[in-house]
Subunit: 201 residues, 2 copies
C-alpha cells in the first residue's frame, strides 16, 4: 500500500515549525530537518496564495539539492494570513501581535499554505486555502492570549490549536491542518503523486 | 474577565470521551467526571441535529441534579454522524467499522454535537453542525486504520485527529472541534451566557 512505499523515502523538512514536524510524524513518515536560511521577501505585485507559493519555492531553491540521494525529497512550506486584500505575517512583538488580533477580530480571513516538494531532478509547488472566522474578541481576551502564549512565531499571531482558537474561532471552511501550517491531506496526496512522477510541472 | 469568572464554577462532565476531557482542560476550566448510565435510544421520527440534542438531554436528565451545589454545572454531550439522511453511531466491531468508513468514503457528511448545560434550577441545549468531506478511501487504507486505531468508541468510526483524518479529509465547513465531539467555541459562549442567566429556554 501507499503508506509502505512512502516509508522508503527520506523527507528533508526545511522548516523550524514544531506543528509541521508533529503533523509529519503523525503521518508516520521518516524525515530529518535541514536548515534553510533565506530572507523571506516577495515581489510586491503578488497576492494571497501566490505569496505563499513564491516563498516556499524561494526556500526550496535556497537549498542545494544537486547531490541529494534519489530517495530524498526536500519539503518546504510557507503559511500566510490574508485579510481584506492585505498580507499578514508574523508579529515583531507584543504590540504588533495585539494589533494583528484586533484586526482579525469579528472577521473572516484566508490562510494560505504553499508547499514545495523538490528532488535532485524535479520540483512541484501546491497550496491549500482555508477560510477562518473569528467572533468579536475582547481586548482582555487578546491580551490574555498574547501574554500567555506569545504567538510570535505564528502568521497572524494565533494558533488555531491554542486557547484563542478554542474560544474565538466560530468556524472554518477548508483544511484545519492548513491553518496549523501544514495541509496534511493535500501533502500526502501530492507526495504520493510526486513519487509516482505524476504531478510534474 | 470572563475567564476568571468561569473558573469559580465546577463543571460536572457526564462523558467518558477523552477528547472532551482534553478540550475542557485546554479551556482552563475546572471539572470533575460524573457517571451517567442511560440507554441511548431516541424516537425514530427524529433527524440529524435533533437526535444529538435529544440524546444529550436524555443523559442530563438521567443525572439527579436536585442537590447540586449552586456553583456546579452538569455538562453532557452527544455526537452523531449523519450521512444521506441516515444516522451513523459507533461501530459494534471491526466489520461494522470498515463498513461505515466505506460508506463515508468519497462523500460529504454532517457531524452534529448536542450539548446540554444543567444546574439545579436551569437547563439549556444547543448544538453545532460541521460538514466533513472524505476523498475516496482505499480499502487498504480503511483496513490499516481500523486495525491500528480501533475507532470503536467513535461516531462514524473515525477520529478527524487520527491518521485517517490526516490523509482522508479534504476539508470541513464549520467547527473542527465539533467533529472531535466538543464544539469548544460554542460551548464557551453558551457557558458564559448560562452563568449570566441569559440563554434560558
Amino acid at each position: 500500500m501507499k503508506q509502505e512505499i512512502l516509508r522508503h523515502y527520506n523527507l528533508l523538512l526545511g522548516s523550524k515549525s514544531p506543528r509541521r514536524q508533529e503533523l509529519l510524524k503523525a503521518l508516520g513518515l521518516h524525515y530529518s530537518l535541514v536548515e534553510i536560511d533565506v530572507e523571506e521577501v516577495y515581489p510586491s505585485h503578488l497576492q494571497g496564495a501566490d505569496i505563499a507559493r513564491y516563498l516556499c519555492e524561494l526556500k526550496a531553491d535556497a537549498y542545494n539539492s544537486e547531490h541529494m540521494p534519489a530517495d530524498s525529497i526536500l519539503v518546504t512550506a510557507d503559511t500566510i494570513v490574508w485579510l481584506d486584500g492585505k498580507y499578514i505575517g508574523k508579529p515583531a512583538g507584543r504590540a504588533e501581535a495585539i494589533e494583528m488580533l484586533t484586526q482579525l477580530s469579528g472577521k473572516q480571513h484566508s490562510v494560505y499554505s504553499g508547499i514545495c516538494l523538490k528532488s535532485s531532478t524535479r520540483k512541484v509547488v501546491f497550496h491549500s486555502h482555508t477560510l477562518v472566522t473569528f467572533r468579536e474578541l475582547g481586548l482582555d481576551e487578546i491580551e490574555y492570549y498574547v501574554s500567555h502564549h506569545k504567538p510570535y512565531d505564528k502568521a497572524g499571531s494565533y494558533g488555531i490549536q491554542d486557547w484563542i482558537g478554542y474560544i474565538g474561532v466560530t468556524g472554518i471552511e477548508g483544511c484545519y491542518y492548513n491553518v496549523m501550517g501544514f495541509p496534511v491531506q493535500l501533502f500526502y496526496e501530492q507526495l504520493t503523486r510526486f513519487i509516482a512522477g505524476s504531478n510534474e510541472e
